[in-house]
């Protein structure tokens, strides 16, 4: 067992963890934050997406012990009190979900993605900063699967949040 300390949604949290525990299991099983979901547990579905030091990452592929001292934001920490994050507002406005299982990951991924900028695999000129067209949003959000197929509304919601 290893003692670690990290900031989660703004609060300092300590834990005594087996080295095998993932950041996802630390959040869900040890800290009671069940927003981040365990979908595939292989980094392929994106349901576990959280922000680590402000950057979106798959919590299932992150060893908790390797993230000692980091600052983690989960879906529970996206809103500012009762004020929802612009991405959350846009998902509500566009009905960008059906069952909701992938939604925490989609929200954290979109929140992280909007701060990234730069080019993507579909950008014509990789040295230029393109606008967030629907094609750009689809490419940049490809690490998040939605089994209900709510993609049309997810793309619309992320587009609106990008303009907000």
């Amino acid at each position: 067992m290893v003692k670690i300390e990290l900031r989660v949604n703004g609060a300092s949290r300590r834990a005594d963890v087996d080295t095998r525990v993932s950041l996802l299991d630390l959040l869900r099983e040890h800290l009671g934050l069940t927003g981040a979901k365990k979908g595939c547990d292989h980094g392929q579905c994106g349901a576990c997406t959280v922000l680590i030091d402000g950057r979106r990452a798959n919590a299932c592929l992150a060893l908790a012990v390797a993230h000692d001292g980091t600052d983690v934001t989960t879906v529970e920490g996206l809103a500012d009190g009762d004020d929802l994050h612009p991405v959350q507002e846009a998902f509500l406005a566009h009905d960008a979900f059906q069952c909701g299982y992938c939604t925490p990951g989609q929200l954290c991924s979109a929140a992280g993605m909007l701060g990234e900028g730069g080019a993507s695999a579909v950008t014509e000129d990789v040295a230029a900063d393109p606008g967030l067209t629907a094609d750009e949003i689809r490419e940049r959000m490809s690490g998040n699967l939605c089994r209900c197929g709510a993609y049309v509304n997810i793309v619309a919601a992320v587009g609106e949040a990008a303009r907000a």
Binding site: T19, A57, A121
Partner: protein, 326 residues
Amino acid sequence: MRPFTYVRTRDAVDAVESVEAGGPDAMYLGGGTNLVDLMRLGVATPARLVDVSRLPYDSIAAHGDGLRIGAAVRNSDLAAHPDVRARYPMLARAVLAGASGQVRNMATVGGNLLQRTRCPYFQDVTKPCNKRDPGSGCPAVEGDHQNMAVLGRSAACVATHPSDMAVALAALGAEVRVTGPDGERTVPMPGLHRLPGDRPDRDTVLAPGELITAVDLPAPPGGRSTYRKVRERASFAFALVSVAAALDVGPGGGVRDVRIALGGVAHAPWRAGAAEEVLQGAPADADAFARAADAELAAARPLPRNAYKVPLARHLIVHTLQELLP
């Protein structure tokens, strides 16, 4: 998952010592995007993990006429670096073509080079696999091999190397800086990765305990460069075939310089030396591009269900070079 001890060291010397002391059961940990998954699958069973992701190799800096990229630089930071985007578009495109935004934020340059094949038999511990369990056999030859190698494969292994970034580094002639128990050395790309032969368990030429610390890019090739990747879905999938290419055309319309490397077709990123040789000084047109592709692919030995990769690679080489014409 097998229990393991976790070690974080202050510098590379301590990291190398720690892995050396741990013997064959010790491994370096970068971003973990492949290794943690392989540990969960039971494919990788380290008893000691030495975390090198926080070593001071996380910057990109000018180096001679090129760039030095630290091994701990995240894939997303590499693709976003202004000099990489402006001077090495082939590399920026290759990195952006790999994985997802989340994975690129976690994955390191060193780890990208050392990721293992995604061959379904390698990743399934209930199946034989000469790479995972030498001598146990290769079910892919008779089985699921649609996505497997057509160049440089052996009777023992038909797996492909999954990295996109490594294909661009092979075309650019990058040098991989390594430190280990016997000191430092550099390994020129594409020489880091091996063809399988009768030792498919060895992906690279690195000796036990050796640690990648940086990748040095030479000055970018003249002309224009790009990376094109064909896959089964539009995003977040490994290459069926990919091409990293740079083309410099002289004032008379002849090829002044050309670099071509292929991904998804071999156990290692495949520098297309035969194609480059055909094109050197040849007219830069579709006929010459096709002759060059044919010269390279003459060595292809496809299996029944991956023969499609040969014409796919041919078309991809020709179209990519055409796209690079001035």
